[in-house]
Amino acid sequence: MIINHPLLGPRDAQEFVYHGDASLIDRPDANAETALDDFHDYLYLRDNPAGSHKELWFHEQGLRSWLVVTRDTTTQEISLVELASDYAKRRGWDR
């Protein structure tokens, strides 16, 4: 699998470490009334779709940047690669 890094260009997936569903960026509010349930769902439950999946890859053996990769889990085809910081900012996080 080749991941087309937005800054470095095409890199072998072997340079990266996989960290699962990109929903992990959306950390729940620890002060909310429902925090216990929210964190259980956040930590342990997954949509695990067959098809398009947004997921976190860490460029451990290189730039050490975090990426959000949109990949089809049935064909391994990667349709979009973006920096996790860009993705997070778009979702209203400050970094």
Partner: protein, 416 residues
């Protein structure tokens, strides 16, 4: 029809004209008492024990393709019960006991071969950990022996004992472990379940659940609606997809695990051998092929094929353990879909929906558990209480904090 040596002899004299199909091909009825979703090893075993042990009737197994087309035909055929934790070991030991009587129970030759499984250790610390594991196994009624280097040398002289980085210091041996002809397990359970009146319905994909007031009423399928009092789902690999149709999210990710077989060779490997310093395990099939595997690829996948970095990693493990494997040619490699649970242990539990039960999250340990998984799932379906060997395999264990982290690796699927 009962299979026996006499039957084979008689059929030989009659030109083999008397053999009948091993199971029927019935059309689905409008409703059943028990519907099992998934015609793999676990689903078919569930139907068998539900009918034979728990004396239930009006049972159907629904399979979207052909029976045994998933992981029961894609694994590396190993059976063992060398687990550590109380949540796991009783179930796997129960399973190994069922394997020992399986062929008589099913009247089917599943080629159960207890040739032993040897986990190698490479340091003093690892030997201590294996001693602890072996003691835990013995406390749960299993067998375990700690071998020193000399004993391992006698058993497997071809290993790289003098490896500079990972010298072999001994191993934990379970003599009752071994291998089984995996397809025959699916076929044997199917034939036996069918003989007790279970309808095995192939090419019948479940497309939805009918749920009213929090209780299951039946399943929508590609062959029409089928009513059911109780529905058990055993579709590991695709659990999240199927349970999403009932509105449930699971603590599971689907990952791909690759397996490999070499060309046929003369007998060389006495049993199952596992590398203690990397992830590599190998056995030899009755046809002579070296059957081996290693880690999952480590990313979500529903494709039954993997990538080359893991192929390289597995083969490096093989070369480090037994350099002679470099002379063998690889015949085939393939992938299967693993339900990777968050703590590496399975689930056999009721769901929040009345009458809907779930069996999954087997990671890459499902095959060895097939008989016990079917037995305890049948127990749960029949009695609404968990079997004594499966009380801890709960779906809510992450909420309650009662995780079963066999490896002590943490709560993330690609760590297991």
């Amino acid at each position: 029809m009962r299979y026996s040596a006499l039957k084979v002899l008689m059929e030989g004299l009659r030109g083999h004209t008397g053999w009948k199909p091993a199971w029927r091909d019935p059309a689905p009825q409008t409703d059943y008492d028990y519907v099992i979703v998934g015609g793999g090893g676990h689903g078919l075993a569930t139907a068998h024990y539900l009918a034979k042990v728990y004396k239930k009737a009006r049972i159907a197994v629904l399979e979207k393709g052909w029976i045994g087309s998933g992981n029961v035909g894609r694994n590396t055929t190993i059976i063992r019960s060398n687990y550590l934790l109380d949540g796991n070991e009783p179930l796997y030991e129960f399973s190994l006991k069922l394997w020992e009587g399986l062929e008589q129970d099913l009247n089917y030759n599943a080629m159960v071969s207890q040739r032993g499984i040897l986990n190698l250790c490479h340091s003093d610390a690892q030997r201590d950990a294996y001693r602890r594991r072996g003691n835990a196994m013995i406390l749960n009624g299993a067998d375990a022996e700690l071998l020193d280097e000399t004993q391992v040398r006698e058993m497997a002289p071809f290993l790289d004992f003098e490896n500079a980085r990972f010298p072999i210091k001994g191993g934990l041996l379970q003599r009752r472990g071994g291998t089984v002809r995996h397809d025959a397990v699916a076929w044997g359970y199917a034939r036996s379940a069918d003989s007790y009146g279970v309808d095995i319905i192939q090419n019948c994909e479940v497309t939805g659940f009918k749920i009213e007031k929090g209780a299951i009423k039946g399943v929508e399928t590609s062959r029409g609606y089928i009513g059911a009092k109780k529905v058990g789902v055993a579709v590991a690999g695709n659990s999240s997809r199927v349970m999403a149709m009932a509105g449930l999210r699971l603590p599971i990710e689907s990952h791909v695990l690759q397996a490999f077989v070499s060309e046929g060779l003369k007998p060389v490997i006495p049993g199952v051998i596992t590398f203690g310093a990397g992830h590599f395990y190998v056995s030899q099939s009755d046809k002579g092929g070296l059957v081996f595997g290693g880690d999952i690829d480590g990313y979500n996948s529903y494709a039954q094929r993997g990538n080359l970095p893991v192929v390289e990693d597995v083969l490096e493990g093989g070369m480090a353990l037994m350099p002679m494997i470099g002379r063998a040619r690889l015949l085939r490699m393939w992938g299967g879909l693993m339900d990777m649970s968050m703590d590496g242990s399975p689930f056999i539990d009721h769901t929040p929906i009345d009458g809907l039960y779930f069996n999954g999250g087997w990671c890459y340990g499902g095959f060895k558990a097939t008989p016990a998984s079917g037995y305890v799932f049948a127990h749960l379906l029949a009695t609404d209480t968990p079997h004594e060997t499966a009380t801890m395999l709960r779906l809510d264990r992450f909420r309650s904090g009662a995780m079963i982290d066999e490896k002590g690796a943490g709560a993330q699927p690609n760590l297991h």
